[in-house]
Subunit: 379 residues, 2 copies
């Protein structure tokens, strides 16, 4: 719609891996990219300085959560979510479609939208494609997402088709509303459609064809990593990118491990987000150049080495496994912050390496070597 968000810089000669660039009013984003999740306009335990040091290029926030607290008009009044959270870089907001869908017994889905009850105070609310776009205008993220219905896994072709029809109708209504209601902040907002259709290729194709007619600024793939085997996830993403336009960004939502990211990059995906690096850090698990390390294990009690001897993040430059294990054991919040910093650094550095290897056209060899190494048990 707004046009010119994405520029395709290079495609690998041996796979569908791509280098690209997203241009937003708050800065450029080099792809492939991982986007740290800041659901409530805060990446768990990290200051914006930490994010800048990590060279995070864009941060995710969530419309559903910000709608409930602190409320989107308040963020509008602050001048948009970037100013509100003190982060002068790009932000992407998810629409909240997945969150209201997840409320299960506390939501009712109709053709018009989703009525739901807040789990915080029992209050009643309704999201429609129009109201969610309005909320995203108020929040003012640089990239905003369609309001979709997530298709459960497994689902029959009939169920998935019905679900897809809702998503497509809602996407059209959202784009109509956006056309009539320009941004409330003084910079453009780019709109991504979301491909649904469950694990049914014919429906994914139908979804893509319909979206292409609507011509959004980018394309997300939703309804993946919802319980299906990982090979199915790869196959569906691979199938989708075959049909998606080359000159627009492709974003797989809510995925995944470091090796998932590399596998999906080779299948032509540009953008990722996931709570995994933050959540795993809180559970005492970190990703390293030598594999997965459970730093809470007793074997690290007096290990003076950093989490990853090859890592130069703030955590690895200053703290030992022994100290981090201690912080984890005594539940000191610093432990979560530091291990989250490490994991996010690991993801962002991996994406930097991926970009470099696509540039030098040896991404596939590098990824083939990295994927098994990243999955090793490092203790």
């Amino acid at each position: 719609m707004t046009g010119n968000l994405f520029e395709l810089l290079k495609v690998s000669s041996k796979s569908k891996a791509r280098r690209g660039k997203l241009r937003t009013a708050h800065g450029d984003i080099e792809t492939p990219i991982f986007m740290p999740v800041g659901t409530l306009a805060s990446v768990k335990g990290l200051s914006v300085r930490d994010l800048r040091e990590l060279e995070a290029q864009i941060v995710l926030a969530n419309t559903y959560h910000l709608y409930l607290r602190p409320g989107t008009p308040l963020i509008a009044k602050a001048g948009g979510v970037q100013k509100f959270m003190g982060w002068n870089g790009p932000v992407l907001t998810d629409s909240g479609g997945f969150q209201v869908w997840s409320l299960k017994d506390f939501r009712h889905i109709t053709e018009d939208g989703v009525e739901f009850q807040s789990l915080l105070d029992g209050s009643h609310h309704k999201f429609t494609p129009e109201s969610v776009m309005k909320a995203q205008r108020e929040i003012g993220a640089d990239i905003i997402m369609a309001f979709d219905e997530c298709t459960p896994y497994p689902s029959t072709v009939e169920e998935a088709s019905q679900s897809l029809d809702y998503t497509l109708a809602w996407t059209k209504r959202a784009m109509d509303w956006l056309r009539d209601n320009p941004p409330v902040h003084d910079y453009p907002q780019y709109f991504f459609g979301i491909v649904q259709g469950g694990m049914h290729k014919e429906l994914r194709k139908k979804s893509i064809d319909a979206l292409k007619e609507l011509s959004p600024d980018g394309y997300a793939m939703g309804g993946l990593s919802v319980g299906e085997p990982v090979e199915t996830m790869y196959e569906i993403a691979d199938f989708c990118t075959d049909s998606l336009p080359m000159d627009h960004a492709r974003y797989v939502m809510g995925v995944g491990t470091p090796w998932n990211l590399l596998s999906l990059i080779s299948r032509g995906v540009d953008m990722f987000d996931c709570i995994l690096p933050a959540k795993n850090a809180q559970d005492g698990l970190v990703y390293t150049s030598r594999g997965v390390l459970r730093y809470k294990n007793a074997t690290f009690a007096d290990d003076s080495r950093p989490l990853d001897p090859e890592c130069d993040c703030h955590c690895c430059r200053n703290y030992s496994r022994s100290y981090l294990r201690h912080l984890f054991k005594v539940k000191e919040p610093l432990g979560w912050t530091l291990s989250t910093i490490h994991n996010l650094h690991f993801y962002l550095h991996l994406m930097q390496q991926a970009r470099n290897h696509i540039e030098s056209d040896d991404f596939e060899d590098w990824a083939a070597e990295m994927i098994p190494r990243l999955q090793q048990d490092a203790g």
Copy 2:
């Protein structure tokens, strides 16, 4: 014992306020000083970089807590608590006397020491003056504290006298042990005696006289701010500093508000520690140049100003009251970290100002103006 820890630089012409310097192997400490509390070898939510930016000169840790987790031999193996926590500045360890005393139904005090049960796992332990000094040798703080018995408030002169006898006997045993057992790390450790005696001046005097005979490296005042009226606390501290040697540092343990600190500085106290700035930050209360501000109040929901417009801490330079209130409401850990940074900055900056005003010999006028201002309700 070790000698030459403290140098008295200047005494105010109008009060007992003093400027001094403590010299340790990990750095010099300008007094009066406030010491951030890092009970478990971590100042809640703050990285050592945050501490350096705050210009923290020394950090407190706690022997009782570190003895239980991760265990003092592990810290010894890491090369001392400074290396363990990645903090290359001075550390002071409290002895754990107050903590085991606080266990009430789970401890038994004898002439020999304190038997207690861990609240973590029910395991049985015994602290003696000797074992606590050994633990503090292993931890390796630059300044270590006597193992004392805290005198409850209120207490009769007989109760307080009995309690004091224990503390004095234990202090002598501790110093004997330290004399026979040099540091395990390659730098000196300075030992502070603790003045007890409840609110009974004759006992405080007896405590000080006995301690002076033992000639520790510094003098702490314990058993204050344990429920007595604030004026009594000031009176007892004032009484004590009249008898304490001028050429040694005086430390009031576990106190207090910013105005408490200024009031005690004018009574000749050099060193302070307290959990208050961190605890209050977590409860949504911050200290500012215009008084006490409860940033969780609804009135700040869309207030775009920093917590304290006159403050240049990391929090005030980057974040609004509105955003901090949001973080507090949604329980995002970043809110606690940022408000703790602000409060610690406030305390440390206040001590810097106090030092400057003692230097320029106008501390009393400045303090008289500040004390009511700091206590104002700023909203």
